[in-house]
Amino acid sequence: MQRIFNSLGLLGLAVLLLLAVLGLQNWAAAGFALPDQFFTLSTIFLGIFIEAAPFLLLGTLASGLVEVFLDRDAIQRLMPKNALAGAVAGGLLGFVFPVCECGVIPLTRRFFTKGLAPATGIAFLLASPVINPIVVASTYAAYGWGPILFWRIGLSLFIAVTVGLVFALQSRSAQLLRPTPLIQISGASVDHAHPATAGSLGQRLNRALLIAGDEFFEMGRFLIIGSLVAALLQTVVPQTALLAVGSGPLLSVLVMMALAVLLSICSTVDAFVSLAFVGTFTSGSILSFLVFGPMVDIKAVMLYLQVFRRKTVLYMVWLTFLLTLLATVFINLNLGI
């Protein structure tokens, strides 16, 4: 009961934040003076939120459909048993479930509750924001068939599979998730006598939509808070301050990774944003922006923390950071693409 109150409280807080931003904008439009930073903050906040919300909706919808149409046996049957093969399969699963970094989180959680192996799930979680048809197409549109596109796909898959393999040491997926009763994960069924996959097609679709709706509102509040934190940081720490730090082989990578975290842009459009840095920043740092950003940014971390244990999030973020840093600094100093 306490958890339900907490959840409702957080949802209320998030909605209040959203209303406050919109309300203050109207207030300002009516002629009341507000500091310029507020308009910057509200614009960035709304930009991030409006961009990400449809993808979260898509992810929760996919999660609902998985819940009612895919049973545990099917996942066990379809996914490879071997950890490496499972991680690679997870890394490529984005071509089947094209979701970006917001949508992938509820979907991964759903897969875990259905018994997906940790290596496969973590690899899917990290890779699918990049390795899906929409992001491949947008990266192609921005950079064409060239090294940036190939390296983005290759590095994302490599990092996702590597981190996934590390998590293969955790035998049970539940150990990665926050200790929340399964029943509290919207729509999750523990009743093996009346599984969620039972009923007519209409009933199942109706149930999938209900689950998606519940999950959207559950995750949405963290998206609002995450977007607000990202907007706040962008307002306080302007891009120019970061870009002024340096453009050497190591510094440029660190700056672009920090920028990716700070900007919290959806992976479907980040390739176009990164074009602005081509020529002034190293190719390796552009890649770090395109690889690290979709895996780790402020709003995604907020959502990760809602779903996974803190240690899981810490390990995931740290290993992703180290692997991206090493790979892109290596590219800067040795390949010069």
């Binding site: 082989p249 920043f281 090493l326 040795n334």
Partner: protein, 452 residues
Amino acid sequence: MSRFSPLDLAVASLSVVLLAALGLVLWRGDQVGVSILGFAPAERGLAAASAPVWIAFGDAMDTQSVESRLTIEPKVEGKLIWRGNVIYFLPQQSLTPGETYILRLAAGAQTEFGHLLAEDLTWSFGVREAGVVFLRDTGGHAELWALHSLGGSPRQLTETDGVFDFAVSVDGEQILYSLFNNLSGIDLWLVDREGRSNRLLLDCGADRCYAADWSVDGRIAYSRAPGPLNPGEGYGAPRTWLLDPNTGETVRLHADTQKIGYGPSWSPDAGRLAYFDGVQSRIVVVDMLSGQETHLPSRVGVVGSWTWDGGQMLYYDTLLVEGQALNAVFRVDFVTQDILPFFDPQPQDGDYSNPVLSPDGEWVALRVRPAAGGVADQIWVTPMDGRFALTADDTAASLFADLSWDPGSQYLLYHRMQLGAADPAPEVWIWDRLSAQNRLLARDASAPAWLP
């Protein structure tokens, strides 16, 4: 039982391995180096005395690191400029024919991204004497001819239906010329200094493309008059266009099609482009980096002569003095925006026009028509301060045109036509500043230009 799970240990171990690998990658440092796409003059090649020295890099460079490491032996004063990822060294004084120069870019020059030039880049080249190229009536139409050295005999470079005008590239390797086509338009063609590799560069259709000029970085500016909209109508007012000879891509200098202008001239550093605006009666000088324009009032229809660094220009304009129209020379400084008379006080005893600065910036050649001299001209040469004047050619009853200095600032090349002669054939002459001697280079020849 251990406090750490296998996952904890795996994360710790992998972190150590990754950090060690990162340390190793950083310790090994840059293995990519600096990509050099090309340089000029060519290794052990023979270059023009006015040839720009350049190095083209594959990436954006830390300009300071390059400039501080670039040297030329024997030492030559000059200016370094960047155009994109290419650095140009523009000699203040021309290189000496017969001398061998050694260029060195020392190791340590780096890209903006920190990639280092691991080893010195060194190359040498020689310098050739300048020749002359001109138009000569050949079988009833004008063709390009060249003297590859002042003592040599002229050689025909083109066989066409009549060359309209031409422009020699700054490195002296290529000549752009204009030629009428079967639509009565004028196309732009390219031929090398030996008369080989002749090719159509720009098909202008019914438009007339002419009066081209090469920049030091290889771009071409030219005038383009649109063809008649309907048969029997006249040509449109010319605009200034830019052309990349490597790709054939051509664009208007100004997006605004109402900006009229012709006779473009690049500053020696390609930082400015001047053209004449016949509608507003002014010389327009465009700063090619900022797009800012400077307007110089002039009614004479031609642009002026640049100083070697492009910072100043000498030009002339027509003034009304006691009811009489006289040309006078002015000097404009583009940095201070000052416009001052070249001679102070302004002489009232003649008509001074067509100032041409020597490449070393020491001498100015002028066409002078004394007040009592009728329509005949003289050529005078004066130092930059104008304190005295030498007469380069005062042959009676003559007209002079197309004055230009050789890269070494010793010879003045010009076109002379004697008025009232039985056979008024145009001739190409040079005047030697050191010996004060004039020498005929070619008969039946006009529009001479140096072939550096």
